[in-house]
């Protein structure tokens, strides 16, 4: 089967999805949604626009990111400001052009098109598929905040309507997003949600947890502070219970510069053991670090099901997460995790305090959370589900 994936080819989420679906028999071509030059997994092969054809060998291919548009082709994106809202890190000149994607569709003739993420990849497909005759079926995955955040921006409503009415299957990472998609006109059949990353090797990851959570002495805080992340509010919450943090280390994951500065400030002002965690080159090392954490804290004004939380659940770290994610679809609030308001640092502080002092709570949660990810985040199970979905919509082509 030939599958055309449209998405951010440099995203670890996309790489994990590909890992989930890659069975060695399918030809998977990735059309980059942006012209980023970041590295991809070693086994991905790059292909120029001119060399794309239906007979590409099975395996994973990436179209050359420098050939995803001609500058003059981007005029259609210039008259609205989806870049300013939340994607300020993307230069308009890096965007792919719908005309180029349309040409790739004609050259590659995929059995299906699958967009991963909405605002860059999904919107691109909306424009590319306009007035295309005999277009392939379109599966759209939404990631994290795609619908939940952008439904609040009126300027996005026309595009969200075109997106939701244009897709054939909507694969969300949260059940709540299906409700939003219906509101914007999605008329396809319901599809059970699946995390954006597909699945993980649960048994392999779970082996990294060698200490019960109650015996662990570290806290991990997600350090994003940007269009949705609120890492500084998480640090404020910790500051409120600083007298309870003696003997504990706090590590900040992928800290934004201001979050890193606050971590240093908390060390110098309050003498707390807070540090920005260094980047670790392999996912295994990162997971081993997670397996030493008693609590994982994530604060944002909008999120889906964060991969960090799924990883935490796999290795027994207790999630304290803002209710604006869809973690409520994975945990029992107050039993296997605690949901808090993204606006109330006192409530966050109380939740963290409870997770730090209640040994029975965190140990029991670890067992139940591992069972949950075995059921819903297993690569093996979700590979089967993904292929069932693909086969149910794919065109039968030569």
């Amino acid at each position: 089967m030939r599958i055309l994936i449209v998405g951010m080819h440099n995203s670890p989420h996309l790489h994990r999805w590909i890992e989930t679906i890659d069975d060695g028999r399918a030809t998977i071509l990735i059309f980059p949604a942006t012209a980023s030059q970041a590295p991809t997994p070693a086994h991905y092969r790059y292909v120029g626009f001119g060399d794309i054809h239906p007979e590409l060998a099975p395996g994973v291919w990436v179209m050359d990111p420098l050939q995803i548009s001609g500058a003059e082709e981007l005029a259609s994106y210039a008259d609205w400001d989806f870049v300013r809202f939340t994607h300020s890190f993307v230069q308009p000149a890096w965007l792919a052009s719908p005309f180029r994607l349309r040409s790739v569709l004609l050259r590659f003739r995929p059995a299906l098109l699958h967009s991963l993420e909405t605002q860059l990849a999904g919107y691109l497909c909306v424009d590319a598929l306009q007035d295309v005759e005999g277009r392939p079926p379109w599966i759209a995955s939404s990631w994290g905040s795609d619908l939940e955040l952008f439904r609040r921006f009126e300027k996005h409503h026309p595009m969200l309507r075109r997106f939701c009415t244009g897709i054939d299957r909507f694969l969300a990472d949260c059940a709540r997003d299906m409700v939003t998609a219906r509101r914007f006109g999605y008329a396809g059949p319901p599809v059970e949600p699946m995390p954006a990353t597909g699945g993980g090797d649960i048994e392999q990851l779970a082996k990294l947890a060698t200490t019960p959570p109650s015996a662990r002495r570290s806290i991990i805080v997600k350090g994003y502070h940007n269009w949705a992340g609120r890492g500084l509010l998480a640090l404020s919450a910790l500051t409120l219970i600083r007298d309870r943090l003696e003997g504990l280390s706090v590590g900040v994951l992928t800290p934004a510069p201001q979050v890193r500065a606050w971590a240093e400030q908390m060390r110098s002002t309050f003498g707390l053991d807070v540090e920005a965690l260094p980047y670790l080159p392999t996912p295994e090392d990162a997971m081993a670090r997670m397996a030493n954490a008693r609590v994982v804290i994530g604060v944002s004004i909008s999120d889906g099901i964060p991969t960090t939380v799924l990883e935490a659940m796999t290795v027994g770290a207790f999630p304290v997460q803002t209710s604006t994610s869809c973690l409520n679809e994975w945990i029992v609030d107050g039993e296997t995790g605690i949901l808090v308001s993204p606006h109330d640092t006192a409530e966050m502080a109380e939740a963290i305090r409870r997770a730090l002092t209640d040994d029975e709570l965190v140990d029991r949660a670890a067992e139940r959370n591992l069972e949950m990810v075995r059921l819903r985040w297993s690569r093996e199970i979700n590979r089967q589900r993904a292929w069932d979905l693909y086969r149910s919509v794919a065109l039968t082509r030569d």
């Binding site: 809202f85 609040r152 939003t180 404020s236 400030q265």
Partner: protein, 174 residues
Amino acid sequence: MGDFTIFWRLLNILGRIARRRSRPLRLLVDVRETPTSRGFHALAVLNLIAAHLTDVTLFLLTTGDGDEMSAIEVFRADHGVTATILTEPGLDRLRFDLVFAVTEPAGAPASEPQFARRARRSLIGAVFQQIPPRRGAIVVDGHDTAAMARSLVRLIDPLLIDPSFTTRPASCAS
């Protein structure tokens, strides 16, 4: 003649009080997210007290940065609160009844933001450093959004006995 003057003075004072009460309170909130201003903390407080902003004329001071504008957009969409967006040059000719900011003071001695003096009263959340109090200014712990929310509500409506806060946002769009 003296009684008459006192009468008119009293009437004048009562008239001014009545006019002041009939005019919505003008609240300026600094939502700039910069190294010295923690606008996302301030917006968190506004989210908590959104139910108490219906009779308030709200002004939001921003840098115009995309992340700040997104946060404002989400706040407006979630609570239906209207606000006038200002940038610093636009403050020049404006006066407010109350100013609220969460500030990360730079340098020593720490001081409140300059624009806080554009109102008779101000509430300043200070993080990591204390700011010396002055008449008309209340300084509280800028890390504690719930405490700041309680203080701000009391300044908006001093007669309020038991302020209610916005509860945890629902994660289901049902």
